[in-house]
Amino acid sequence: MSVHIGEAAPAAVAGRRPAGLFRTVTRERRGAAVGLGILAVFVVLSVFAPYLAPYSTTDGTCAVYAPPSPRHWLGCDDGGVDMLSLLMRGGQTSLVVGFTATLVSILIGGAVGLASGYFGGWTDVALMRVTDCLLVLPDLVLAMVIAAVWGPSLFHVILVIGLLEWTATARIVRAEVMSLRERAYVKRARGLGAGDARVIVRHVLPHVGPLLIANTVLTVSAAIYMETALAFLGLEDPGVTTWGTILQHAFARTAISSNAWWAIVPDGFVIAAVSVGCFLLGQAIEDALNPRLKVAHLSARRWRLRTLAGKGADAR
């Protein structure tokens, strides 16, 4: 019997299921550790960028588009600025943008999801319709236009991303709150006359909290990704350095015709690394919280939607 497709999973095999589950858990823990490791490295590098960066990020220290060398590991850009130092500096801003924009989106999405799930009825219908509408709109185009109308600045970029990336959070929080609302202790608290505010703060938020943390991690990479796109389109404050502006400069300043791949390639790898790190960690937290969601196609779908488009996880 050579080729076998499909697992017939005969009921006869005792002890197979626990073993499989165990493997899943260990694999995910490893994923979580790897993800956390990647993110930790980048956070440390960013926080200490000013001390760790080998060269200045504003003044040229070598020749224009100098290739990688023992002194400048990743070469130099069009102004003779050391690429490695630039990447560290850019990572600092990119991570700040990623986390603050995520904070904005979590606040909005959390509030919308909470209100929608807790109060239900017309509140729910109205909020979810708006969410669904926003979900189908092409977010990068909207962000482009809004950022352009407001004018290029770091603050505006953060705000725009935060305003557009909250839909996934809202949907997930709503689903969780709806199931919480039906649980016995919440019902009893309400039956005993506790006010909505009290029930939300005492009984609902503590349970939604961990889910929000997982969601935060997953949204960060979407925000970073969006920032690089906006920066690439020239909608970022020209004074700041981010991973997005590094690519934009390279594109606008003839890195390609100079064949200076070192001004482009490493940038993509750091963005991809953070993206993978966020995904691994966020996914592991979420699965630990909610084993019921551990359906393979859900996580694959979410992986894409969260990291790149930052959109609805429950696309059911």
Partner: protein
């Protein structure tokens, strides 16, 4: 020569973290044309695995040894390509999950006709006509061929599965717990249908079930499996009335009696794990009449009457159980 003969069948499953499970341990039986044979045991005893192995349908984590002879020729020896020719053509199967055994996005007629074209028994208009016949045969109007599985109830879907299994006029029909997911009235109808069809079409039937009374109603002969081994086999009514293995007796007592008021017995304990070698009789920990030999010696199958054998040390002519 028997129609189908299964000789010393063993199946091991590799575990994801090393080690293996000996799911089927030296099972053998023979099936004559038109015979109805029951395979009985608790879930996990290896009965489903056994019939999947007959068709070479086990996943790649399984290792199979033993021979499956169809009219004297070993069908598993030639690997996937040779066993594939016999599937559905000679041996067809009705699965347990009436809900999921049919592809949800294809019409039932398409699914019934599909193996006909592939095995070259009928195509085109003839295949369509045959689909109609088969549907009528299982009590479904022929016009239902263009409908999708979700439009049918559970019992109807099991009828569709049976119609589908009959598509290439197989000599042997394997039915893996065909009534488990159905309610009692429908169960009776499906069993009646299976019995009638095998009689009319001269087909042999292997009925896999955990329900011993069902076997004594439907089958001519039956085998009882425990922990991957065959512990008793014989004429179906003798297993009910004169079981020689305590497990068979307890299994019969543990089945709810639809008509009686008898108190339901249970078998205490649970079947042994199969990932380590078992010394002695595998049923000893749950047995109500163990002997001194049971702990160390493995009882072999010994004759207990005409066409009847059991693997128990108490199965001695001088020691009535």
């Amino acid at each position: 020569m028997s129609l189908l003969e299964c000789v010393d069948l063993h199946v091991w499953f590799d575990l994801p973290h090393g080690g293996r499970v000996h799911a089927v341990n030296g099972v053998g039986f023979a099936l004559d044309p038109g015979e109805r044979f029951g395979l009985v045991g608790e879930s996990g005893c290896g009965k489903s695995t056994t019939i999947l192995a007959l068709m070479g349908l086990l996943p790649s984590s399984a290792t199979v040894s033993g021979r499956v002879l169809l009219n004297g020729a070993d069908i598993l020896a030639g690997g996937e390509d040779s066993v594939r020719r016999h599937r559905w053509r000679d041996i067809a199967m009705v699965f347990q999950g009436a809900m999921n055994a049919l592809n949800p996005v294809k019409t039932v007629g398409w699914q019934i006709a599909e193996p006909m074209a592939y095995h070259g028994t009928a195509r085109g208009a003839r295949a369509r006509a045959r689909v109609g016949e088969l549907l009528e045969l299982v009590g479904i109007p022929a016009s239902a061929a263009d409908r999708y599985p979700h439009e049918f109830s559970g019992g109807m879907r099991q009828r569709l599965s049976i119609a589908m299994a009959l598509a290439c006029e197989p000599k042997i029909l394997l039915a893996d717990e065909p009534t488990t997911a159905l309610d009692v009235m429908v169960q009776a109808q499906i069993l009646e249908l299976l019995t009638r069809l095998t009689g009319e079409l001269g087909m042999a039937l292997v009925l896999v079930t955990h329900d011993l009374p069902v076997v004594s109603q439907v089958c001519d002969r039956a085998a009882v499996m425990y922990a991957g081994e065959k512990v008793e086999d014989g004429p179906a009514e003798r297993l009910g009335l004169a079981a020689r293995h305590p497990y068979t007796r307890l299994l019969f007592a543990a089945t709810p009696d639809l008509y009686g008021e008898e108190r339901l017995a249970t078998i205490p304990g649970s079947p042994p794990r199969l990932d380590a070698e078992i010394t002695g009789c595998p049923f000893r920990p749950r047995c109500d009449v163990p002997t001194d030999r049971c702990a160390d010696e493995h009882p072999a199958l010994r004759p207990a009457g005409p066409g009847h054998q059991a693997a128990c040390f108490r199965n001695e002519p001088q020691e009535p159980m």
